[in-house]
Symmetry: C2
Subunit: 149 residues, 2 copies
DNA sequence: TTTTAAATTTATAATGATTATAAATTTATT
DNA sequence: AATAAATTTATAATCATTATAAATTTAAAA
């Protein structure tokens, strides 16, 4: 448990970010929840444990994490920005019904990108939308119900 | 010339959208410029020809085009939403230096998405970031200059 | 053609996420 | 302990988007 804090602290120090309590907590939230949260979601959870917390600190910390590549923005169309401490290559799927954002493995290098051979590519994002299995099940169940009537 | 207007008008009618002058002009802007514009860019250009134009009309029209799949949002991380009348499968590349958004062909179906076999996928977005050839050239040229000194 | 109703456009206010600014607090240095 | 630097906090400003209602245009009815 305390080991985790140590690890997070080390991660920050490695990137020359002073590991303040607030910063560790934001990073901990991202890495343990892995829920692609908004600033508000992070703030509302952490302010319970840190009553003096300011939303500005959450914004500042996320900016720091982004600069040092310890976190990235989930590029999906939403009015609130969502963040992800998993910076490895993976795709995102957002369910249009329940809104949950799923991770999925995707071999981005498989994408034929001959037309970009003269471009320097720094980031690759893959984002799908649709309906998740849970919501598909719910739809099916409702159909069955109506059939019975 | 007038033929184009006819075509755009037909496109709207097919989707049960009344082809008002403002709506045709917004769609014309999107299809001819193909520059992934913001609402402001569309408005500022069209208000020259339509001095009474309201920004609300641009928002309303874009919402209509989106609903009927005549346009889509360019899913990239920006504070202003950008729109695209090209709804065929293609990827977007944004240059971090000049900000230009390039289209590029991408065979999205090549992506192995076994893990999403129970998901209903409605939309697929591919978005890359980096530096475009033009800006790469500029960087090289500047290096050469400094070398000469 | 006039009247009436519906649809569209416009003007404007409200919302809300993000950014900016400066004061307060904490941490490090002398 | 005193001072300086860094961090956090509180608060105001910005600005894209949404909401609302009035004005205008278009279509339908009389
Ligand atoms: Mn993720
Ligand atoms: Mn495009
Ligand atoms: Zn769902
Ligand atoms: Zn460029």
């Amino acid at each position: 448990m305390n080991q985790k804090i140590e690890n997070l602290s080390k991660k920050l120090v490695e990137k020359n970010i002073k590991p303040s309590f607030q910063r560790i907590k934001v990073l901990e939230y991202l890495t343990t929840k892995r829920n692609h949260p908004t600033v508000d979601e992070i703030f509302n959870e952490l302010v319970i444990e840190i009553p003096t917390l300011s939303k500005a600190t959450v914004y500042n910390t996320l900016d720091l994490l982004m600069e040092s590549k310890l976190a990235r923005i989930v590029t999906i169309e939403e009015n609130e920005t969502r963040y992800d401490a998993d910076v490895t290559n993976h795709g995102h799927f957002k369910c249009d019904l329940c809104g949950v954002i799923y991770d999925f493995p995707v071999n981005i290098d498989d994408l034929s990108t001959d037309s970009l051979k003269n471009f320097k590519i720094n980031e690759k994002n893959v984002y799908f939308q649709g309906i998740c299995p849970k919501c598909l099940d719910n739809i099916d169940n409702n159909k069955d119900k109506n059939k019975g009537k």
